[in-house]
Amino acid sequence: MSDRKRSGGMLAGVSGGVAVSMATAATVAVVIVALLAAAPLMLDDYWINILVLGFISSIVVLSLNVLTGYTGLLSFGQAGFVGAGAYTYGVLSVWGVHPLLAAIAGVALALVLGLLLGLPAARLKGHYLAIGTLGFGVLMAQSLNNMVDVTRGPMGLLGIRSFGWSHQVWYWAGLAISLALVALLHWIEKRTFLGVILKSVKYDEISAMSSGIAVFAVKLGAFCASAALAGFAGVLFASYVRFLTPDLFTSADSFRYLMMTVVGGAASAGGGWIAALVLTALPEALRGFGETNLRLLIYGATVLCVLWFLPQGVGGVLETCSARWRRSRGGAAVSTAAANAVATASSSTKHPAPDQQRSETLS
């Protein structure tokens, strides 16, 4: 009998403790989002533009969060998927296809490419995977460059139809879409069974297989989802800038996205979002320092510094802060937890004692 009470109490305690910290985190987040939403009214067009590009980059970073952070698969050619989505949308829209259809086609093609790459890549490990995906990225960039009849190669693809949104609408759409994706991915990773499956594959494949997880299928799925997300970002990009050249999707760009991901913390959707915005805005913010080279120099140095001093990236900082926040709110009376357990178990749903969850302070 006491067993059931204990487990009931634990269940309630667990959800209760989480609910408390989520309420405060949510308030903070709402304030920040409100500020961001108001931004277009305060900033000039130049910065709106930068931020929109930042939102679009953040979606690519999110695709890397899924692939690398959650499932443990390296991708050094992510720009290939972005380019595939962008050019599919661009070419189709130039040929007169309706933007919505072109957009769907862009995401679909990227997904198919993800499947094609995933089939061999899911069997590769570590550095072989890194270089295999690098090769894919190079192949994509060169193909985009060489298929001049379709893509107009280095001459560039002009006249792409946009969604018809104004700068401000693009900003809000970018903000909303990217944040929605961050929330979705965060929820999947932290609170669903799927997140546990992905992470089991990431941390130990062999025991994941022995637990009944079809590791190959999971990896393939991760490639597809990641490619589709990156392709979606590409579609948005094409529709926004309306002019594409193949040199926007080279290995250097793949590296850039990967750097943003690692700086944000590979497994942190929120961290990745922040890192994407900061690392897109940083070179621009440093325009005061003059020429491009100095700015990019500082960019590179920033990446190195984050890696030296914050190896878990921005996401790690977020985690530590939220963990400390949770502890400070419910950390009292650990010793009375046992006494509370029986008493509060029955009324657990009404006023959950956050202390009951305090077993986690062990970590």
Partner: protein, 286 residues
Amino acid sequence: MLVQILINGLILAGSYALVAVGLTLIFGVMRMVNFAEGQSVMVGAFIAFMVAPYTGYLISIGVAMIFNAGLGIIIERTAFRPFRGAELNGLIASMGLSIILINLAEIIWGTVPLSFDTPFNDVSVTIGSVGVSVQRLIVIGASVLLLGALWWLVEYSRLGRQFRAVSEDPEIAAAMGIDVNKISRASVVIGSSLAAAAGALSGPVNLLSPQLGQTEMLNAFAAIILGGFGNVNGTILGALFIGMVQSVASVYISNSYSMSIAFGLLLVTLIFFPRGLVPERLEENV
């Protein structure tokens, strides 16, 4: 034509091999891929370019190699040693470093490609029915010399044995008294020096710009996969293969697709040999 293809292939293979061997050494010892290697090539080329008017071309190669040895020490300290155990971060760090180096180079030397002229460019030798510039012969000769020296080093010298020991198992090597830090440093130093040679040698054959070295690095990756990570002999053969394939492809297919061919081959290889052509270790025993 055949001679031309052969010479071109050997030249490409030579610079790819020099870069690839450095990468494979670094990988074998540190288990990290050096994404700044392309920039080592570029720096080597520029140093040689600046020094050559004073010391003559051949000595400038040596100077570049020595300079890069120093650069290698810095690279090891900043982008590799802090990340042992967190190799993905090390990869990204070397990427960040490569951005720093490219932009430093652009600040110092500008972005306009420069022409690295050496007297050897103007002298030719006739082989078969084709005239080949001495410069190109020097590239091939020097590559062979350096690679041969490295091969000897790895196979027969004490340092080479230590390299192999650390590549096999760093913990056991440390337990046997090998200074793993010193070996790590040595691998990056040697890798950078070889890259410098690659740069100094290919500079006169191509144009000189801060973007130099990227192609060599990418092809070197392909060579390493074919030849086996950490496997010096295999890597040299892999580079030879890729160089030849590209040379043939650029004549018979198209120059712009030549890199795609190398990587296409690479991907096809990986499909059938997910562990690379030269398996690294025994099957993991569970």
